[in-house]
């Protein structure tokens, strides 16, 4: 049930992002989105002293937030520059491909045939999704 709530929530994010950048600039949209994001952080506020974790882990967590923020900023910019919510979200959601491709070098993990099949599907998907015909472009 919670997984489905996550699915629907994240699915709706793109629609509201597109609706916002159609009306306001990327930076303004990002600031308001960040305000909304911060509002719910009190729910996950840790009850333990989080400074007790190692500096490396805390650095990773902060870097994690920076990457997330920049990801959203670029996503809003893509939509502002004419990208459709459906296409932009789908393209950006293919990030596991880069994760899998970089894992052998960064995490010393091995690629399986299963992973290669996933990468192949993602490459085909990226090519097909980027085919924006004039007719469909006009409708956006």
């Amino acid at each position: 049930m919670l997984a489905l709530l996550g699915l629907v929530s994240w699915g709706l994010v793109g629609v509201f992002q597109k609706a916002s950048v159609d009306r306001i600039g990327v930076r303004t949209a990002f600031i308001w989105a960040a305000a909304g994001f911060m509002m719910l952080q009190v729910v996950v506020m840790p009850t333990v002293a989080w400074m007790s974790y190692s500096p490396k882990s805390i650095f990773c967590a902060i870097l994690n937030g920076i990457c997330n923020g920049l990801g959203i900023l670029f996503l809003l910019a893509a939509m502002r520059h004419g990208g459709k919510a459906s296409i932009v979200e789908s393209l950006a959601a293919l990030y596991p491909v880069f994760v899998v491709m970089l894992s052998p070098a960064l995490l010393r993990e091995r690629l399986s045939t299963f992973h290669l099949a996933g990468i192949a599907c993602a490459v085909v998907a990226a090519i097909l999704l980027s085919v924006d015909s004039p007719a469909s472009r006009a409708s956006s």
Binding site: G14, D22, I24, A77, S90, A92, A93, V97
Partner: protein, 145 residues
């Protein structure tokens, strides 16, 4: 192929790719950081990083203020939904659900986006893009398992 080449010249395509690369960094840092830090605490600490990007954006914001209240409301709702999605995901992991299944289900969120974008934003997709979406769903399902 001509349509693909044209898309490669557009800003939106490269912004979407940049977004994808940022989330690659997000996935790696999540994987490394969560070895020691519990997911919900990770979400909380990462909000500080998110805040840093905010500070950077505010520092560079020199354009005239946007006045659309609807636009601001939509942006705020998108932020709330983003956080809600993350919290739900961590909650699903904590309740002992099958982690692979939870990841696989939530990775399909673009399907919801597509359905809502077609329904509410009146976006239209060509046949190639529909096939592309099917490949994307297959890729996301395979890579999330």
């Amino acid at each position: 192929m001509l349509a693909v080449r044209q898309s490669l010249k557009t800003k939106w395509f490269w912004c979407a790719m940049a977004s994808s690369l940022c989330w690659t960094g997000w996935a790696f840092t999540a994987k490394i950081g969560s070895k020691e830090i519990p997911p919900s605490t990770m979400e909380f600490i990462s909000a500080f990083g998110f805040g840093l990007v905010c500070v950077g954006v505010l520092a560079r914001k020199t354009v005239a203020p946007d006045k659309s209240q609807v636009g601001k409301l939509c942006a705020t709702i998108s932020g709330v939904l983003l956080a809600l999605g993350g919290i739900s995901l961590y909650g699903a992991y904590r309740t002992g659900s099958n982690a692979s299944m939870v990841t696989a289900v939530t990775s399909l969120y673009p399907v919801v986006t597509v359905l809502c974008a077609v329904g509410f934003l009146r976006e239209r997709l060509n046949k190639m893009q529909v096939v592309g979406l099917l490949f994307a769903v297959a890729a996301m399902s395979i890579l999330s398992l």
